[in-house]
């Protein structure tokens, strides 16, 4: 009766709850806790063309209502992903989204070309990782640079292309508009906020990189505002991300205009949180007599 389905870029998700990149590995670890096929979709850990060791030093620092992370895109590289992780993901009855990071246009293109030949359903272009020193950051900040990247990737990609926006963008609405103009089929937002913490006894930054990425419920009010603004400005599907820890948060994002949502840090406080969110959304819709997500999408 309740229709939780949502169609994004001609791909049907059985429900709007997706595991966010970098918080869900390649699914294997969570598969020990629940059947992954119950999810709407899974975003892989951020992939780069070549393997990356990630950052040294402290990688996680708790803050009020969230955490700073500085993982630094540690990942096995696209080839190893395709060889070792994708076969497992393919077997799950859920939408697989490959999150692609990079620090140059060539790197993005190289990665996307390899993913073109696989079974993944969607590419999510991460133009915004704050934790990689060599670059990548600027892509997510200046609309003109993002435009260039998306335009070029768009030309080689054979899969639907979702661009993941950074909340550090100078102007999130212009950023969204530029990405759509350059050919993004959808947008997901937000990635982590640039933040920092200081070890006052050591008189030094907690993180070797100084700046790290903030996520969790602490950022929700800002992320929700950005989703609301972007959803009103562009016509492509929007995936809302940021601080979701229960079904009420997810419904807020849908009402702000999101087609689907991603759950990131929430997985850390409860590996089965996504299921609770799916069930909670269903119950809410039932109680409120809402038959499909479309009815409430952007309703405010």
């Amino acid at each position: 009766m309740i229709d939780m389905k949502v169609n994004i870029c001609n791909i049907e998700f059985k429900n709007p709850v997706i595991a966010a990149s970098g918080t869900f590995g390649f699914g294997q670890e969570y598969n020990e806790y629940f059947c992954l096929s119950r999810l709407g979709g899974i975003c892989t850990k951020g992939l780069t063309l070549y393997e990356k060791e990630g950052n040294k030093g402290i990688r996680i620092h708790e803050t009020t209502g969230g955490l700073l992370n500085s993982i630094g895109l540690q990942n096995p590289g696209i080839d190893k992903f395709i060889r070792e992780e994708l076969p497992f993901l393919e077997k799950q009855d859920t939408i697989i989204i490959a999150n692609v990071g990079g620090s140059s246009i060539e790197e993005y293109i190289g990665a996307v070309e390899k993913l073109n030949e696989t079974s993944i359903d969607i590419i999510e272009l991460n133009i915004s990782c704050p934790n990689v020193k060599e670059g990548g950051m600027a892509f997510g900040i200046k609309s003109e640079i993002a435009y260039e990247v998306v335009l070029e990737v768009r030309q080689v990609r054979k899969k639907p292309l979702i661009v993941k926006l950074s909340p550090n963008a100078e102007n999130i609405v212009h950023m969204a508009e530029s990405c759509v103009k350059a050919g993004a089929d959808g947008l997901s937002l937000v990635n982590t906020f640039s933040g920092m913490a200081i070890d006052i006894y050591g008189r030094k930054p907690v993180f070797d990189n100084i700046i790290a990425g903030l996520s969790g419920p602490c950022i929700k009010p800002i992320a929700l505002r950005m989703v609301y603004e972007v959803a009103r400005a562009v016509d492509v599907p929007i995936i809302g991300i940021g601080g979701i820890v229960d079904y009420k948060d997810a419904i807020e994002y849908i009402m702000a205009g999101a087609w689907a949502v991603q759950i990131g840090s929430g997985n850390f406080i409860n590996p089965t949180l996504s299921l609770d969110v799916i069930q909670g959304m269903e119950r809410f819709m039932l109680d409120q007599g809402i038959k499909s997500l479309e009815e409430i999408r952007g309703v405010i």
Partner: protein, 249 residues
Amino acid sequence: MQEGYRKGKIESNIQIASNIYELKISLPYTCDSLGEPGQFYMLRGWGAMDPFLPRPISICDISHGIITFLYEVRGRGTHIISKLGPGDELEVLGPLGKGFNLDLEGSIALVSGGIGIAPMIYLAKRLDAIKDFYCGFRKEAYYIDKLKDHVNSIFISTEEGSIGHKGFITDLLKPEKYKGVIACGPIPMMKKVVEMCKHEGVPTYISMENRMACGIGACLGCTIQTSSGMKRVCKEGPVFSGEEVVFSD
């Protein structure tokens, strides 16, 4: 399939030394193992979003379906847990990680520093080898009596000399006497143990700590450098071979 966070019922939660608490919980019955020596649980003693992350605590003992944890109050998370009492609920996820190798044979030294004594109880009970126990403390010694029946000899040190040798526990350790050494404690202590043992060609097994978010291997937040690349303390560890860990300075 493993269960996610489960509601543990607190059986007791008592202070046994300054800042040190012994917590006993029972879990709803399942057929699954409650854990092996060296494994840990993630604990969340609060329903709210501050503190945000759960806290990793080692299994100190398991008997008759009751899990014992031994923990030091360091910051906010452990402080909140220390305020819970019998009947209160505590959310726990586990058992997690890879525990100690229980197949060791011959004479083995168990070396702990401070709260590093926590996983040694269950280990001493479950490891069949002949064991000597070396435990170092800063001021107060605690929990040693729990080990008495399970080990051969006990060596104690305190930095202030209030009991046992005055100094570090590594002052007492003679690696050459053992077929293997298992250590848990502060990084400088474990580093020293590994160095001493390497020198004598004695294999070491050490239980590492790191800040954790997910506890299940997904976030890559708890990785440490090893001779074969970055490894996750929560998944490939917390127990590592001392030789493979690259200690940063």
